[in-house]
Symmetry: C2
Subunit: 329 residues, 2 copies
Amino acid sequence: MPTNRRVTLAARPDGLPKESDFALDQVDVPGPKSGEVLVRIHAVSVDPYQRGRMSEARSYAKPLQLGDVITSQSVGEVMESNDGRFSPGDLVVGQLGWQEYAVARGGSLRLVPHGLDPPTLALHAVGATGLTAYFGLFDVGRPRAGDTVVVSGAAGAVGQIAGQLAKLAGCRTVGIAGGPEKVRELAELYRYDVAVDYKNADLGDALRDERVDVYFDNVGGEISRAVHRRLSIGARIVICGQVSQYNQARPEPSFHPGALIVYRARMEGFLIGDYAHRFGEGVMRLASWVASGDLHWREDVTDGLENAPQAFIGMLNGANRGKALVRVT
Amino acid sequence: MPTNRRVTLAARPDGLPKESDFALDQVDVPGPKSGEVLVRIHAVSVDPYQRGRMSEARSYAKPLQLGDVITSQSVGEVMESNDGRFSPGDLVVGQLGWQEYAVARGGSLRLVPHGLDPPTLALHAVGATGLTAYFGLFDVGRPRAGDTVVVSGAAGAVGQIAGQLAKLAGCRTVGIAGGPEKVRELAELYRYDVAVDYKNADLGDALRDERVDVYFDNVGGEISRAVHRRLSIGARIVICGQVSQYNQARPEPSFHPGALIVYRARMEGFLIGDYAHRFGEGVMRLASWVASGDLHWREDVTDGLENAPQAFIGMLNGANRGKALVRVT
């Protein structure tokens, strides 16, 4: 019987996670019961939201318990199936965690779109992060052609897609990221009209002449405060993430709601899971833009499941270039 | 020639305004030019937003300059008219300020609805504060029957209408106000289902079992923080006012936008002026609810224009019972 290597939560991180907050263990690979599918995992995703699951604080999802496998989107191959919709050899994606094998109910899995190359796109541009950008930008932010759309964390997995989608919708795009290398990528790879390096420029000065119609916010904190000062009348602020706050025990209040009166503005949060009934629409559009070359992407791949914690810590520190993934096999 | 007594801004208030921040002067009553109307003012309104106009900070409206007449909605009688839509004797309402006479362009005035009794209702329940509650609640908050609607500043001019409108829409209403007298009024006069005295109860405890679908926020600050902890999924936060912040030189950031992700919630500001094209609709509905006895109201009238500053300071301190007005004549 093969064994299943897994990365589990060994301790609740205090601030930025350390490698010792994770453990690697081995268990038997379970057999799939009726309606279940056994998947051999090829690659797992590394995302900021995972930090939230490691805390005990009340949030939209149950926190991980100590000893639990780290939650993640993972892509893999069906080995055994007790669900008529899946057959051995199918490539599937689902919330399968940081491990080598997973058993899941068929209803929780999606087939990787046929011909998607590489299949790991189902973990980002044509998967959760692409869908997050797609529904967050279009359904919550509702950009109009001609709008100025500002994206924070613009070189991140969601931000790089959000900017490109805004560009496809006829908007002027302003991306904010940290460091010259990321900012070059914003302009060259992700086609931002304006790319601002918040680490090496005064953000207030850089945004002085902007009127922000849509702010797609991945980071919160100081960066967002600078953007909030440049809102236009009727602005929409999409709260996608607040990564600057994830390592803080108590998130700092950073926003004065009175600003929403002055600008008659709307600030709205969303969770991608609430759009599950429309994932088919999003995947189809995103796959088609990737195939036509209109949607650029970049992967930052770490080899070896045992290196997932290190990749995760690096991603929280902004070390990744493109979507952070771990190749398992 | 009659003279016009006016209350003007003598100094920019530092924190809570003092009577010495205002001056009473006398000027000649000007004659109306082509398209203009001369109005003899009967009553002027006293509202929290006026505090904002006294500061130099950037906002949605130009700040008052020293020596300017204090901005207000006022109701009065047409004395002379060079606009065919108005005749001497007509009762009109408009942004005419704290003074005895005003000349205004006809297009900036509205007729007080025929038979409205008392006509000062055009300054509140069937005027600016009623319209603020009507469009803020229905267009921004979008309550559904069965929703729980929480109103802060619930005994204030806007809050007392907002709660009653929510009740008319089939919602459960929770009003927050300061002091036993106001809270009694919430339950008895304004029909709130639950009335909370934040000065004499722990707001966190009082709201413990609530799930807030719509929060109509007039105050901001600490009170709002307690309400934000009880949002339901899909909650809507209407930012109508932030009166707790108006006397502060720098409003304190009081909100962590990440909460909007957890609850997939929306926070939105609005200005009543943006709904001017729909004032007819709002006035008709509000007047009809007042006439049928479905919309209760209460006026807190101060006599004498010279006492307007004192009424204003009292209102900012929460001393008024019902809509604060000053009777001029």
